[in-house]
Symmetry: C2
Amino acid sequence: MKISVLGPEGTFSHEAALIYSKSAQFLFENTIYDVFDALYSGKSDAAIVPLENFISGSVGESLDALLEFNLKVNKVLFLDVQHNLIGHAKNDIKKLYVHPQAHAQCREYIRKNFQSAEIVHTSSNAASARLANESFEGAIVPLLAAQVYGKKVIDENVQDNGQNVTLFAVLGKSHAKKSRDDRTFIVFDCVNRAGILHEILGLFAKAGINLFKIESRPNKRKMGDYIFYVEFHGHPEDEIVSDVIDELKKKTRFLKILGAYPAGGSE
Amino acid sequence: MKISVLGPEGTFSHEAALIYSKSAQFLFENTIYDVFDALYSGKSDAAIVPLENFISGSVGESLDALLEFNLKVNKVLFLDVQHNLIGHAKNDIKKLYVHPQAHAQCREYIRKNFQSAEIVHTSSNAASARLANESFEGAIVPLLAAQVYGKKVIDENVQDNGQNVTLFAVLGKSHAKKSRDDRTFIVFDCVNRAGILHEILGLFAKAGINLFKIESRPNKRKMGDYIFYVEFHGHPEDEIVSDVIDELKKKTRFLKILGAYPAGGSE
C-alpha cells in the first residue's frame, strides 16, 4: 500500500502516517496540494494531511484542497505533538535550530534555557534535526526526527503546554461506511445577509444534531463573501442527517460533503 | 513611535508595518506572542500582527494571544501578497529557495518553470532572499525582501492566484473610537450542546447585525469544547450592539471584546 504524506521525513505528518500504518510505503510530497494530487492521480492508495492543530488552528491549505479535489476524509487520527531537545549537553548549546511553529510552542522553554544562544529558524522540524551537527548546536524536534536523523534526545516533552494535539485526515476516494458513532464534515456557500447563518444552523438545532466545528473562510471567487466548513454528529446515511442536508441544499448556493468517519479517530 | 512587528526584516509583516507608518521605529520579534508581549510590557507603542490570509486562513497564534493579552485591535490593514522571483536569469536557476507557504502559493509557477531545479524550503521569506547568492540560485520573495537584501527581481507577481490578501491587525491598549462604519471582534465560550450556537447567532439575526466571520477553535482547557471568534458589523458604543453583547453574556461562560475598528482598513 502506498500513502502520500507531507514531507520531509521525520515531521509530525510522518509520525501520524506511522500511527495509520507501520508497513505502508510512504511517498513524501513538497506541499499539501501535491499530497492530494498524488492520491487523485493514482500515484498512491491513500493520503494523510494535517487538518487542525489544537494551538495553531485549522490548516487552510487542507481545507482548500478538500474543496477542490473529489476526495473524502474517511478517518481521522489524533497525534500528541511532543517536542524534544537534541544535542550534546544542554548547557553547551550556543546555537539552537527550531522551526518557527515549534518555537511558538516551546517559547517559554527556549526563553528560560537558551537566553544567550543564537536561535536559528528552519523550514521544517526535520531540517532542525538535520542541521544540528556540531557539539555546540542543538535543536527542538519530534522524536521521530531524532530517530530518522540519528540524533540524541537530551530533554523530552519541552513544549510549554502540557498537551497539544494535531488532527490528521486520512483521505480516500469515498467516505467511511456508517459505524456506531460518526462525524460528517461539509462545506457550503450562502448569500451574505444578516441572519442567514442563523437560519442554516437552525436546521441542525431543530434536528438535535450537535455541531463540533464551524469555520468561515474567505470565498476566493468573491472578496468579502465567505464559505462555511461545518463538522457535526452523524453519518450521511442517517435519515435525520440526509434530511438536514436536503434542506441545507435549498438554502445554499453549493454544498459538498467532505467526509464521514468514526468519531473517535484512532491511536 | 515604536512598533513591534514579527521579524525578520523584509517579510510581509514588515510590508504591512510600512503601510501603517513609514517613519516609526520597528522592533522585530521572533514570535507573534513576543510581539504582543513587547507592546504589553511597554517596549513599544503599537504592534502589528497577521490575523488572516485569504488562502491559508486564520493565524491561530494571533487569535490565542488576543484571548490572553489585555490588548485590543484598533485598526486593520489589508496587504496584497505578491511574490517575486529574484536571481540572475530565470533559465539558469538550478536551486530555488522558497518558504513552504510561498511554495504553496506559487506551486504551479514553480512546477512549470523549475521542474529540474532543486527546491530548498526556508524558515521565512526573508531567509529565501538572504540565501540566494550564487549565479545559479534563485528565490521567491516579497518585493520588500528583494529591496532589503539588495537582490534583483527578474519576474514579478508569480503567485498562482491573481489575488491573495493578508489581513493584519494593529494593536493598542484600547479599541478605536466609533466611526462611520465599524466592525467589532469578540470571542466567547458556551456550553457544548445541540442548538446553543444557533441561539447565540439568533441574537445577532434578531438585531439585524451582519456577521462577517465566525470561527470555532479548540478550548485548550477542555478537550472537545470550543470557543468562538465572531466579527460583526457595528461598534460596542452602538446601543444595538451593546444590547446584543449584554444578552450574549447571559448565554456564554465568558465573553471578551477583542477589538473595534473602521471597517475599510487602510491602504
